[in-house]
Symmetry: C2
Subunit: 323 residues, 2 copies
C-alpha cells in the first residue's frame, strides 16, 4: 500500500510540476536555459549530479533581487515614516541629525547617510516595543504604504520572473530561503504571502532581544542595539548559522551578495550563481557601479571572471512586475 | 487533474499516518492521551482549534529530552576527548585549570565546573578550525565514541518514545525543531539521521564565525568566543530569531527549558507543554531538583502550577531506549 501511494504521490508531483510552463515571464535566453538545465541536472534520478531533496537549498537576496530597491530600500521608507510618526514623542529629533533631515523632508540627505546613518535611525525606530507590536506595525504599514514613483503597494514591486523562479525551485524539491541585509522582523510579516517563503526560511539582520515579563506575560523586547548584520561576510555566516548546509544556488544583485555567492560556489558539485543586473531604466531602474543603493561593482567583476550568470533585466525578462 | 492528485496525496498521507499505531512505546497513561488529543484538536479540519500546517511548529530540547544527558552532557564528553587529543599541541594545559583536571582524569572536578568552566573548555576545543573541519571531527567522534556506562554509541542513547513522538508530529504536518543549549555545530552532523531533523531545523548555542580565504577558498573559521547561548532566556530568543513563529508545542526536561515553555504557553489558542521527569533509576537515571546536570526545579514548580504535562519516564514509557 505504502509503495503504491509513493508512486501516486511521485507521479502527482511530476504532473503538477509539468502542468504550467515554468518561467513563462523569462525570455528564452541564456539565463533561463541555464536555470532549467541546472535544475534538471541536480534533480534527475541517476544523474551523476543528482542531489537528494533535503540538500536542495536555494538562497535569494531580497532588495534588488526579489523586489525593487530604488529610490530607497523599502525598509528605509518604512523607517522614514516611523520617524515622522514617532517625532512627537522625541522633540530632540527636530535638531538632532540624522533625524532632523528626515523630518525636514530632505530625503536626499537621508539617502546619503549610508549604512551607518540608516542603522542609527533604524535602531531608534525599531526598538522599545515587543516583537509582536513591531510585527503588527510592519503589517499595517505594508498594507497601506505606496511606492513614491509608481504609487503601487511595495508588495507589488516584486519581480514576476523571480516569483516564478521561487515556485519553480520549490516545485523541484528545493527549499527557498531569503538571505537579506534587511531586517528579519521587517520581512517575516509578509514574505509567506508574497513569496511563499515561511518565516523560518527568512534570514536577515536583527536587533538584540530581551526576554521579560509585561503584565505577567513573557515578551521579547526589541533593544536599540544591532545583534547581527546580514550583509557581505554576514550573509555567508548567516547561512551557516541558520541553514547549516551549503546552498546549491544563490541569487543576488549587489556587492553585498558577493560573499554569499562565493560561499555557495565553493561547494563540491554543481552550483548555480546568478546576479541580477539592473539595466532597464524603461521598466525599472538602471544602476550598477556608481549606485549608493545596491552597488554592483566587485561582484560584477567576479561574476565575469568566474562565469557566473549575470542576468540583464532588459534582455532576459519578458515582464518585470506582476500584472 | 490537480484536484484528483490532491485527493490521492491527502488520502495517501492519511493512510500512512494511520498505518502504524502512533506512540507504541508509550503507556496508555495521561501524557500519551494528552498528546494524541492535542494533535487531533489542532489538525482536524473544521475544529475550532484547527491550525494550518505552516503554523504547526513543535520544539524539542535535546539533552535529557531526546537523549540521555547523564553522567555528563554528551557534548562535554566530546570536549573531554578533544582536550586529550589536542593536549600535545597545548603544553600549558598540563598546569592550567580547567584543562589540568581533565587531563588528570578527574572527571568529577570537570563535572563541577559548571556552565562557565564548560564554556571555557568548549571554546578552546571548538575553535581554530573551519566549520567543515569541525563537522568532520564531530561526525568521526560520534561514529566511534561509547557511553561510559552502557558502552553504546551515543546515538543509541536516544529515547525511543521521543523518536516516535517526533515522527507522529511530522506525520501530522508539524515541523519539528531542536532547541538545545548544546552547540548547533555539534548537533547538525547527526540530527537528520538520528531524529529526522534537518540541519536548518536545529537551533543551538554557537561560537562566533569569521569569513576568510584559506588557499584561495572561502571558509568560515570558528573563533574562541561565544556568539549565542541557547539556554533559558536564550531559548525564547533563539526561537524568535530562527523560527519567527511561536511554537504550538514545547518539550523539555530542565530549568533551562522554562522560558521556552513560558514563551510557547503564552500564545493564543491551544498549546502543549511537556517536561520529561527523570525518575527511572532502573532503566535510565533518577534526578531532578539537586542535579548539576539537567536540574529540574523551578520549571517543575511552574509546570505543576500551570498544569503542564510532567511525564514520568518510569510510569509513562514502555521502553526507554531503542532495541
Amino acid at each position: 500500500m505504502k509503495s503504491l501511494i509513493g508512486i501516486l504521490v511521485a507521479v502527482g508531483f511530476g504532473w503538477a510540476a509539468r502542468a504550467a510552463e515554468p518561467l513563462s515571464s523569462w525570455n528564452d535566453t541564456a539565463p533561463k536555459q541555464a536555470l532549467i538545465s541546472f535544475v534538471q541536472r541536480v534533480t534527475r534520478q541517476g544523474s551523476p549530479d543528482f542531489v537528494p531533496a533535503p540538500e536542495r537549498i536555494a538562497v535569494f537576496d531580497n532588495d534588488g533581487t526579489l523586489w525593487a530597491e530604488q529610490p530607497l530600500y523599502t525598509q528605509f521608507q518604512f523607517v522614514l515614516d516611523r520617524v515622522r510618526s514617532l517625532a512627537p514623542q522625541h522633540p530632540d529629533w527636530k535638531t538632532n541629525e540624522p533625524f532632523a533631515s528626515v523630518l525636514n523632508g530632505d530625503i536626499k540627505s537621508a539617502a546619503a547617510l549610508g549604512v551607518k546613518g540608516m542603522l542609527e535611525i533604524t535602531e531608534a525606530t525599531h526598538s522599545g516595543m515587543t516583537t509582536e507590536q513591531f510585527s503588527k506595525t510592519v503589517a499595517d504599514w505594508i498594507a497601506t504604504a505606496r511606492h513614491p514613483r509608481t504609487g503601487k503597494p511595495y508588495t507589488e514591486m516584486v519581480y514576476q520572473p523571480m516569483l516564478e523562479l521561487l515556485s519553480y525551485f520549490r516545485a523541484n524539491g528545493f527549499k527557498t530561503f531569503i538571505v537579506s541585509g534587511g531586517g528579519v522582523e521587517f520581512m517575516r510579516p509578509w514574505t509567506e504571502k508574497v513569496y511563499g517563503v515561511p518565516p523560518e526560511q527568512v534570514i536577515g539582520s536583527r536587533g538584540k532581544l530581551k526576554f521579560e515579563f509585561l503584565d505577567g506575560k513573557p515578551v521579547l523586547m526589541k533593544l536599540p542595539e544591532l545583534d547581527f548584520l546580514d550583509d557581505r561576510d554576514g550573509k555567508a555566516i548567516g547561512i551557516q548559522n541558520h541553514i547549516g548546509q551549503r546552498p546549491l544556488a544563490a541569487f543576488g544583485n549587489s556587492d553585498g551578495d558577493l560573499q554569499m555567492l562565493q560561499w555557495t560556489a565553493a561547494g563540491n558539485g554543481p552550483r548555480l550563481l546568478l546576479l541580477v543586473h539592473h539595466d532597464d531604466a524603461g521598466r525599472e531602474w538602471a544602476y550598477d557601479r556608481q549606485s549608493q543603493i545596491g552597488r554592483l561593482d566587485k561582484a560584477w567583476d567576479e561574476a565575469i571572471a568566474k562565469k557566473w550568470i549575470v542576468l540583464s533585466m532588459k534582455e532576459d525578462w519578458k515582464t518585470v512586475f506582476p500584472k
